[in-house]
């Protein structure tokens, strides 16, 4: 019944369209299972992707899934796709499965993610010279705590995401000791506490994230991050090591169960072409995390008001 309806829909769409390379819809009776991970930005991207798939005639099921644990499940087809995967903290297991052909990379999302050292804006008074990174060397003592004395304190990513903060500090010869945060909640709690007391804080953080505007966080200007700097020791201010520069832009991408393409060809095309920018996602994140509105409602309003942003991708796939 549903198939018949979808076929009609495709046929009707076909009447108005130029005969472009359209994909088959595939198994429209079976729901496409999209992974819902632990953070709001991902919820928004997933809801938008789900809306697009539904508009194309698919059933969509949203399944909560732990970001660190879900990859074997996706490799087996228990989950069909995750539409916002961050290179900076995706577990090793993902790469192993992808290289083994058991997961498929669906390309970049277009979310221009940025990582770096952030500090609350009021630190520019306490440490003149910021946002330039060289100012950090002079006022490391401002950032020091008992555990790090005489060095400054840098709150690094949780241990299982790697230690980019410690690596950058070492490469740039800055007198800072990196303390792993343990969890994202711990990082945010640090911002909250620092903001309420106006105490010094330097942390490794990323954008887009609601905390950037909520706590008025600024990025430190590091020497420009280039591929060359990470490959060649002579590039960057420290001639002896690689990586003595800013973080490379983090790739945010979409990943799927390799069977997706065969089972739901049009969905594969839609998800491959799905794009979302920081400018589009950030206000929606604010509406959810700062104003406390439900993500479903916020996304429903956005897709209704911004048809031009997503409709063409859907149309191109099903025509």
């Amino acid at each position: 019944m549903k198939t018949a309806k979808a076929t009609v829909l495709v046929a009707m769409a076909g009447l108005f369209a130029t005969p472009l390379a359209a994909a088959e819809l595939g198994a429209v009776d079976e729901p496409i299972k999209l992974a819902v991970n632990e953070w709001t930005g991902q919820h928004i991207t997933t809801l938008i992707a789900g809306h697009m798939l539904k508009e194309a005639g698919y059933k969509v099921e949203y399944i909560t899934a732990g970001y660190q644990n879900m990859w074997p499940a996706m490799a087996e087809g228990d989950l069909d796709a995750a539409v916002e995967v961050w290179e900076s903290n995706v577990p090793q297991g993902y790469y192993q499965l992808r290289d083994g052909g058991r997961l498929e990379d669906l390309g970049a999302l277009g979310l221009d993610a940025r990582e770096g050292f952030v500090y609350p804006a009021y630190m520019e008074e306490q440490c003149p010279g910021l946002p330039d990174w060289q100012a950090l060397a002079a006022c490391a003592a401002n950032f020091a705590t008992v555990e790090t004395l005489p060095q400054g304190r840098l709150v690094d990513y949780p241990g299982e995401w790697g230690t980019p903060g410690a690596d950058r500090m070492a490469a740039l010869n800055l007198p800072f000791k990196a303390i792993p945060a343990g969890s994202e909640g711990a990082l945010v709690a640090e911002f909250k506490a620092a903001q309420s007391q106006k105490t010094p804080l330097l942390a490794v953080f990323w954008q887009p994230h609601w905390a950037i505007t909520a706590f008025d966080l600024k990025f430190t200007k590091l020497p420009e991050g280039t591929e060359a700097c990470y490959a060649d020791a002579s590039a960057g201010p420290n001639p002896d090591v690689t990586g003595d520069c800013d973080f490379l832009p983090t790739r945010v991408f979409k990943a799927a169960w390799p069977g997706l393409k065969e089972k739901w060809p049009a969905a594969h095309e839609i998800l491959t072409n799905l794009q979302l920018s920081v400018e589009q996602q950030q206000p929606l994140m604010g509406a959810v995390d700062v104003d406390g509105r439900p993500a479903e409602q916020v996304v429903a309003e956005w897709v209704a008001a911004n048809e031009s942003a997503w409709r063409p991708i859907v149309d191109a796939a099903i025509r």
Binding site: L79, V146, E147, A181, K192
Partner: protein, 678 residues
């Protein structure tokens, strides 16, 4: 001369000598402090390979079981979520009425209304559907295990070791293999929760069966019952009281696992809600979501404890009345009342909690900072890295010099000499050893010394067997290459146990002396044990920042409860005859406390200490969320890297440490009990 000393003194003397030799040689022989990497067995790789092989072997069977289990769970979720909420509330309230009359019904109604108003109704019902399947599963498995252990004494010991392992290896450590085995979905959480919650049931079934009056058993035999009839018709009913205790404990354990189950995901439950709010450091909302779990725990606990009691014939009419009212409300709800997911009347409360927390942090920032800094400088850092590394000019205003070291050891030796002169040779030796430990720092202790000390303790407490077990287990941690994080774990948990013992003992003593204090302390203890601990990480973090001090506080908040409970219980349950006899002989209340109550309570308090140790180790995994670098963090690293072997090895190492500490304390408690003739 050596032979004439008591075993304890001999062991302490040898330990001290080994410690001194290690300390003197450590600067020249690096391998004394750091186990050489070349000697480390690639045990984590082997474990990983073995686990993967095993997983592949039993995967088809496990997948089939998981598929089977997903059905009852799906049905339970469907019924609880799709039924209109007024009808669900009415039905459970009616159950409360049936089991416990008006008081129980009102309690259940209030609890469910809280869940509804919190805005987490749907998530709450999903959680309830998990508990509805995992608890019966755990109870059944526990029952069977208990009966097997009872009927086959040969299997009793291995079964008890298995139960210990199930309760001490942190669940996070085996999440990845479990996920590979069962496939993705709520069944993984269900099984994890059943693994953790079955042991209390098994233990209590065994205990209950062992305590059945032999006369009852004989009567059954004389009536010609065969052994199965005897078990089912006579022994199990006779053991039902003890089994109920196990049932309650199992339910509590299952609910405490809700959050862990959510880490895997698979369904949108209350644990997932707590995780999301945690991630935003949104204390108000995470507290509300956490309270939903507390409400469920209390409700299921009270209802199930009434199951075995005779019912007072509460009117059937009320049940029908309640269900009818529920149905009417359900019809009304469909038209006029908001959907369960749209109710959220606690939002302003959460907002206010958050701003109050922010305000408090802002107003008392300087004080909180001072507390933290002093604790770090004068207690934690010296304990971890030793006096010579901790005493540096930037913190203490002066550095550690060799003259100071001389003075320090001179003072310790003088004190020890005085103790020895008074006949306290054992205390003198232990004082000297402790002085050496503080000088070196727990994290930098030479491994031969730790192994020897653990062996000596085991030997004194119980004999060669325990000594050998302790040394073997610690040796395994050493050659697996997990020594450094393990010693950090010992340092964190050990410090927490120390604080909990002193502080918890004092609070327990106060509670035993004054019932007014106990009235305040008791609900706090209840709350600390049932609210998901994740929730408390947020305020602790905001007050004291990421780091060891926060981790220590989080561990203490959880591990102090058994110490308070058991101290209070031990001190206040002294037989009245003993107290009266002492009163008659003219003892004042202080003398009664120290001379009568305290010795009588000693075994109970030691059991409390044992529980505190186990709790302190089990909290390490959660403390890792606020940035520790010990075994708890290794478990997360393993999750991130998909390293099955490392996860299992780190989890096993934690269980081994907890097990060694537990057995040592228990052995001493046994000895003490025997000495007191109890």
């Amino acid at each position: 001369m050596f032979r004439s000393l008591s075993p304890a003194i001999r062991a302490a003397l040898l330990t001290l000598i080994v410690g001194m030799v290690c300390m003197l040689l450590a600067p020249y022989l690096g391998w004394l402090q750091k186990w050489p990497a070349s000697m480390t067995l690639p045990a984590t790789e082997w474990i990983g390979a073995a686990v993967t092989w095993l997983v592949e072997l039993i995967k088809p069977l496990a997948r089939w079981g998981a598929w089977l289990l997903s059905y009852p769970m799906g049905w339970a979720a469907f019924i609880l979520i799709e039924t209109p909420y007024p009808l669900v509330i009415a039905a459970i309230t009616a159950l409360g009425w049936h089991l416990g009359g008006p008081g129980m019904a009102l309690g259940v109604l209030a609890g469910l209304c809280f869940v509804l108003f919190s805005g987490y109704w749907v998530q709450g019902m999903t959680t309830l559907s998990l508990v509805m399947v995992s608890v019966p599963l755990a109870l059944f498995a526990g029952l069977v295990t208990g009966i097997v252990a009872y009927r086959m004494p040969a299997l009793r010991r291995p079964i008890q070791v298995m139960l210990d392992v199930m309760q001490t290896v942190p669940t996070f450590a085996y999440l990845t293999p479990l996920l590979l085995l069962l496939g993705f979905g709520p069944v993984v959480g269900l099984i994890a929760s059943a693994i953790y919650s079955a042991p209390p049931m098994a233990r209590n079934v065994l205990l209950g069966l062992q305590r059945v009056d032999p006369e009852i058993r004989d009567a059954a035999l004389m009536n010609g019952a065969n052994s199965w009839q005897q078990l089912i018709l006579v022994e199990l009913p006779a053991a039902s009281r003890q089994m109920l205790v196990g049932m309650n404990q199992s339910i509590m354990a299952a609910l405490s696992m809700v959050i862990i189950a959510a880490v895997i995901g698979g369904f949108d439950d209350i644990g997932w809600a707590v995780l999301l709010t945690m991630r935003k450091a949104d204390f108000g909302n995470s507290l509300i979501a956490g309270m939903v779990i507390v409400v469920f725990a209390i409700m299921i606990d009270r209802l199930s404890s009434r199951l075995a009691e005779p019912r007072g014939g509460h009117s059937r009419k009320v049940i029908w009345g309640l269900l009818g009212a529920g149905a009417v409300m359900a019809v009304l709800a469909a038209r006029w009342l908001p959907a369960a997911s749209e109710i959220d009347i606690f939002a302003p409360l959460a907002e206010r909690t958050n701003s109050a927390l922010g305000q408090f942090t802002a107003n008392h920032g300087a004080t909180l900072n001072a507390i933290r800094n002093n604790a770090m400088i004068y207690l934690l850092l010296p304990l971890r890295i030793g006096l010579d590394h901790a005493i540096v000019p930037v913190m203490w205003g002066f550095g550690w010099t060799s003259a100071m070291a001389l003075g320090y050891f001179g003072a310790a030796a003088a004190l020890a000499g005085w103790l020895a002169w008074r006949g306290q040779i054992l205390a003198a030796l232990m004082l000297l050893t402790a002085a050496g430990v503080v000088k070196l720092g727990i994290a930098h202790l030479p491994w031969p010394f730790v192994l020897f000390a653990a062996g000596a303790l085991g030997w004194v407490a119980s004999g060669w067997r325990l000594a050998l077990t302790a040394v073997t287990l610690l040796g395994l941690i050493l050659i697996m290459g997990l020594w450094e994080p393990a010693m950090l774990s010992v340092y964190l948990s050990g410090t927490a146990v120390l604080i909990c013992t002193v502080l918890g003992g004092a609070i327990g003593l106060l509670s035993a002396v004054s019932p007014a204090v106990w009235r305040v302390v008791r609900p706090v203890c209840d709350l600390l044990q049932t609210v998901p601990l994740f929730v408390f990480l947020i305020p602790v973090l905001m007050f004291f920042q990421i780091g060891e001090f926060s981790a220590l506080l989080a561990i203490c908040a959880y591990a102090i409860v058994p110490m308070i409970r058991y101290t209070h219980q031990g001190l206040s349950s002294t037989p009245e005859e003993l107290v009266e006899a002492a009163l008659a002989s003219g003892a004042n209340s202080w003398a009664i406390m120290t001379e009568v109550r305290a010795p009588y309570a000693a075994p109970t308090i030691l059991l409390g200490l044992n529980q505190t140790i186990l709790y302190a180790f089990s909290m390490l995994v959660i403390a890792a969320l606020i940035g520790t670098t010990d075994l708890g963090q290794q478990v997360y690293l393993a999750l991130g890297q998909g390293d099955v072997g490392l996860g299992v090895a780190a989890g096993a190492a934690m269980a081994m440490l907890a097990w060694v500490a537990d057995r040592l304390v228990q052995a001493f408690a046994e000895e003490k009990r025997a000495a007191l003739g109890l």
